[in-house]
Amino acid sequence: MRFAMSSMGIERWKRFKANRRGFYSLWIFLGLFGLSLFAELISNDKPLLISYGGGLYLPMATSYTEKAFGGEFSTAADYRDPAVQSLIKAKGWILWPPIRFSYNTMNYDLPSPAPSPPTLINPLGTDEKGRDILAILIYGFRLSVIFGLTLSILSSMVGVAVGAVQGYYGGKIDILGQRFIEIWSGMPTLFLLIILSSVVQPNFWWLLLITLLFGWMSLVGLVRAEFLRARNFEYVQAAKALGVSNSRIIFRHILPNAMVASLTFLPFILGGSITTLTTLDFLGFGLPVGSPSLGDLLSQGKNNLQAPWIGISTFIVIAGVLSLLVFIGEAVRDAFDPRRAYK
């Protein structure tokens, strides 16, 4: 009803804001994620803009040959090559992004063998292949969050639907569903992933599908329990007596009441999804080699204890993201519980 929903939303937002830590965490997280969506403009091995001979060039959008800038080869221009840079600077200027490496750019002019410690050019040092760690962290953060978000949303939708149906109808549907879930969650996910990754070359979508296949059960028990409890509530009986359809009772009457528990879990599920991806990458069964992956960085950190900048910076990023998500989760829980006292 339109004269009620808006006020409810406002109240929830107020309660969310009342939890300052969660509120700021949300903005920090959104800010970081928003920035990382433009990672190509922040960290790239191609300049943002080139002015050469009176014309403007956009190297990120179009691929130019060296000949375009007066070079000798008709191959794609390598803007990190000092020779190319001096060619361009003779007749114009170059506008670089803040970090002059992409996640897969190797720095061949390292002062020490890779992994090389932080310098002015590589502010967080490089990994064992000479790639800039800050660049990998930015791209890796984006990839992890997108993966985590997609996985949490999909697995929550499946889990909530299955839990709702089981709990609402109960009886045989419930018993069969529960037994299936018990068997399904007994599957050794990791071994299946290892076997599957030897059959197909796992990419982003394969990993998503596989982790979803074995990860949708997390919310089922919770939602099912809420529905089992709620289906005998008198307001549900009242809705039945009013002739409300089953699907409307499930989605409009019970689900909003069961959502508190689920929503509180969502940020934790998101954190869990990110951890899953990191784990798989760490073990080498995750994203293909050359992807910006936090797990891969962690495993490099473990293999190169003499280069602590790899492990420490990756740890800080992962721990930071997970903490932010926990704080947001707490604030969300406050927002959706109307009976919670105002502080």
Partner: protein, 320 residues
């Protein structure tokens, strides 16, 4: 008036439990006339609530018939039944759990109107909600409050408004005042009486409180362990209770007189188990007038006085 609205015939609801079959409602038959109120009385666990919910098919009956306005409710399909539900509503005992805690009360009252699609215009629907709130005595300023912000009496008013939203012909009142303060009980009962006078709605009034039911009902039916043991017009039942159980119940009503010397009949023992009951009088174990036949045969419900039915071996059917 005088036309039969609901006829319940041999209604049974058995639950299968680990120990056997629980006879919650066992072979209950009665009729209610349009605009009348039938009070159902009995102690807790006697199947009153199950009876009310079975009639509305919130619980599917094991066997029997419910003929409502000429149609057997059990023969209706899902869609027809949903349509029929507009005609028959229920008011619950506990106003704390019968309202969705996440919906403002206006939304709760609006839902049945919205679902029926009778008033598509939002503003007119809103006016109807205000009108209903006015009918049950809820101030307009409460429109966006949540159930937990209201006291028990107001919440019960919301429950009544929701039940009234579709102008039903029949309302099952499942102990609507039992969880309220005595002063508020009177308010709610008077409100329900007024509504009945204005709209001609028929009530099935379930309660364990005899003084409430006397105030409210035209007819009273007494239930014991899933069975109807006595049914009579309210006055006849109070003046001349025929069944020993009814006598005991009536003697327990407090009378506001200082030198009240009326003798109380104290029932001894506990309820016999409703699981797999023997085909004997179910009250025999606690009855003060128990005879041999009572532990051998189950007494049928007979008309011992005009319109006064009783199931007890002490009484014989009228010779017509």
């Amino acid at each position: 008036m005088g036309e039969t609205l609901l006829e319940v015939k041999n209604l049974k609801k058995y639950f299968r439990v680990a120990a056997g079959t629980l006879h919650a409602v066992d072979d209950v038959s009665f009729t209610i006339d349009q605009g009348h109120t039938l009070g159902i009385v009995g102690e807790s666990g006697c199947g009153k609530t199950t009876l009310g919910r079975t009639i509305l098919r919130l619980i599917e009956p094991t066997s029997g018939e419910m003929v409502f306005g000429g149609k057997d409710l059990r023969k209706l399909g899902t869609r027809e039944m949903r349509y029929m539900r507009r005609e028959m509503q229920i008011i619950f005992q506990d106003p704390y759990s019968s309202l969705n805690p996440r919906k403002p009360i206006a939304e709760t009252i609006e839902e049945p109107i919205l679902l029926a699609g009778l008033i598509p215009d939002t503003d007119k629907r809103f006016m109807r909600v205000l009108e209903l709130m006015d009918t049950v005595g809820l101030a307009e300023r409460l429109i966006n409050t949540y159930p937990h912000e209201l006291d028990g009496g107001r919440r019960q008013r919301v429950g009544i408004a929701r039940a009234l939203a579709m102008n039903p012909k029949f309302i099952v009142c499942d102990e609507p005042v039992s969880s309220l303060d005595v002063s508020i009980q009177a308010q709610i009962l008077n409100l329900m009486k007024t509504i009945q006078r204005d709209t001609g709605v028929t009530y099935l009034f379930i309660t364990h409180d005899l003084s409430v039911v006397n105030h409210f009902s035209d007819d009273i039916a007494v239930m014991y362990l899933g069975r109807l043991v006595e049914k009579a017009p309210a006055e006849a039942l109070f003046q001349e209770p025929l069944h020993p159980y009814t006598e005991a119940l009536l003697s327990a009503i407090p009378v506001p007189r200082i030198h009240n010397r009326r003798e109380r009949i104290l029932l001894k023992g506990e309820l016999t188990s409703p699981i797999n009951p023997e085909p004997v009088c179910r009250f025999a174990a606690r009855c003060t007038k128990c005879m041999d036949i009572c532990t051998k045969e189950e007494p049928p419900l007979i008309e011992a006085r005009p319109k006064h039915f009783v199931a007890c071996h002490l009484h014989k059917a009228m010779v017509s």
